[in-house]
Amino acid sequence: MTEIPITADSPTGVAISRTGLLFAGLGLVALALPLVQFKPNRIVLGEGISLTAALGPPGWVVLLGLAVALLIGVTDRASLPIRLAIGVAGVAAAFLILGAAVRNLTPPDNNLARVSPAAGFWLLLLAFALMMADALSRMRLSLRLRWLMLAAVLAMLAAILWSGWLDGVSVMREYAARQDLFHRESLRHLILAFGSLGAAILVGLPLGILIYQVPRLKRAVLGVLNILQTIPSLAMFGLMIPLFGWVAATVPGAASIGVAGIGIFPALVALFLYSLLPVVSNTVVGLNGVSPATKEAAYGLGMTDAQVLGQVLIPLALPVLLAAVRIVLVQNIGLAVIAGLIGGGGYGTFVFQGLNQTAMDLVLLGALPTIALALTAGIALDLLVEALDHRKRRRDAP
């Protein structure tokens, strides 16, 4: 990738950061929009309430503070670490303000009224999160520091959630009403995403190695896997139910090892089938990417086929393999939501229940953890891929 130098100084001498201008614009629009929505009960539409209306007179101080923070980002005097700090603090502030607004608005001894985040909150969060991401992407931090940043941001969000400050927010009320179920479905979701990934690696890796050694098979195998990808997920999940129902009923012993047409099994298989293509094709690409000279050298050292494969080829192909793991994991975390539609469990249970009852807070209870999980997995695996790449490059360098 070619890098283009960023020159922020304008010829007039007044340095204005264009990205800062974007974030400030977003943030100021956010402040003008309703921060939260007040609903008499969980399924009706509510009315929007602005930050100042929700917080009363102190709201103006908060509003001013946020506006100043956003405007500091516009001047180019603010160095990248300062921007990063404003971004992180802004994200935290958005959540704290949300909690405060909900506390102020929820009438005492009224269990029906709900206060949920509205457009203003989401946009404010977006503005500060973008500011944070922009500063981070330009600071070129070392890998170690980026891991620390990820951990710190996650810890900050976890601390806000655990402190109970947000317990009054509508989504958290939905959570409180079904804590046990939520934990069970979370576990289900993780089993769906990671289980199918594990199975895909167990099957896909040997299959990829086989194709690498017998290139004749490549077209046929990848062709079949490609066609599998074109089946829409809804239909794929739907087809697994009768298929495994039939298998469980007719193949002796199948039911006793867990094969069933209902529950988690069909969903797991559907996700597994979608995961195969990235794993197999990246295995082949990774192995093909190892230079013939390296391979010859390994054989020249007297290594056996198995040793060359295990000690040379696979370690060198690892970054490409890991890239497949990232694709599959992020994709499966998202697709696992659809399992909720066929009784496979996971966060989709809440999403589709919420859609059926038009209870949007319940939809959020399913959608938000899914997004958080996918984001975290995506970022963590990106860092991991980069770490491996670094190590490989350092080893390759003389």
């Binding site: 990738m1 070619t2 283009i4 960023i6 922020a8 950061s17 264009r18 990205t19 974007l22 457009a119 973008l130 991401a133 922009d134 981070l136 992407s137 330009r138 066609i227 074109t230 089946i231 829409p232 997920s233 809804l234 239909a235 794929m236 739907g238 087809l239 139910i241 009768p242 992020v330 975390i333 998202g334 697709l335 939501v337 659809i338 539609l341 066929i342 989709g348 999403v351 589709f352 919420g354 859609l355 949007m360 939809v363 959020l364 399913g366 959608a367 899914t370 997004i371 996918a374 984001l375 997995a377 995506g378 970022i379 990106d382």
Partner: protein, 245 residues
């Protein structure tokens, strides 16, 4: 051989959509208890057209916005946004389309709109990413030559940079169209009129024939659109004198 198969698939799709009832025998084996083998609540053809319409509008809108943004962040005026644009694209692609769809419902209500918005947002990313790659990885000699010929910035963009990036941009549109085609089926859970309706009806009444025919039509459409775009990419690449990347 591959062409023949594709032509056969296209022919089958057209005939099936024109007269689904004549293929009832094909789906009979999936039916139990004498349930109907072909979905008739809404015509399959009209569902297909509305499905394609939804995807078409969303992908068109994504293309216009994504290519526009791609051009913007590679011009001197927008270069400051490039690192941000890269980060947002890679993070945005981790957002699950189903979750985006679910989040759009509280804001936009039920119907076609949330699906359209989710498809649009999700479709932006692959096109934008490919436009960026295409516009930033031009061979330096070519840019040099274009400058040397005295072309203005606008001429360079329209006559040199965009045509050279075109195969990659098309690949991005292809990716986005295929993802949208599959994601649109989920739109039926929020009352958009798509082929997902057939699959969901099948799930609700345990009628596998419905699930199969819904999935079959969407799958065939995806394959045909994928191949059509790939053919277009090859042709464009050949026209600008590049070997297929």
């Amino acid at each position: 051989m591959a062409r023949l198969l594709l032509a056969a698939a296209a022919l089958f799709l057209v005939l099936f959509l024109a007269s689904p009832e004549s293929f009832a025998g094909l789906f009979r084996p999936f039916v139990t208890n004498n349930a109907p083998a072909i979905y008739t609540q809404t015509g399959l053809l009209s569902l297909t057209l509305s499905h394609l319409g939804l995807v078409g509008v969303a992908v068109l809108a994504s293309t216009v916005v994504a290519v526009g943004l791609g051009i913007l962040v590679t011009r001197p005026a927008g270069r400051e946004f490039l690192p941000l644009a890269r980060t947002v694209t890679s993070i945005g692609q981790t957002f699950p389309p189903v979750a985006v769809l679910a989040l759009a419902v509280p804001i936009l209500g039920f119907g076609a709109w949330p699906t359209l918005v989710a498809l649009f947002l999700y479709g932006l990313l692959p096109i934008f990413e490919n436009t960026l790659t295409g516009l930033t990885n031009l061979p330096p000699e070519v840019s040099e030559a274009a400058r040397g010929m005295g072309l203005t910035r606008r001429q360079r963009l329209v006559q040199v940079e965009l045509p050279l990036a075109m195969p990659l941009i098309l690949a991005g549109i292809r990716l986005s169209a295929v993802i949208s085609l599959a994601t649109a089926t989920i739109g039926s859970t929020v009352a958009a009129k798509t082929l997902g309706e057939v699959i969901i009806a099948g799930l609700l009444s345990s009628n596998t024939a419905y699930v199969v025919q819904g999935g079959l039509v969407v799958g065939l459409l995806a394959i045909l659109i994928y191949e059509a775009f790939q053919a277009l990419e090859t042709r464009t690449a050949r026209r600008i004198g590049l070997a297929r990347r």
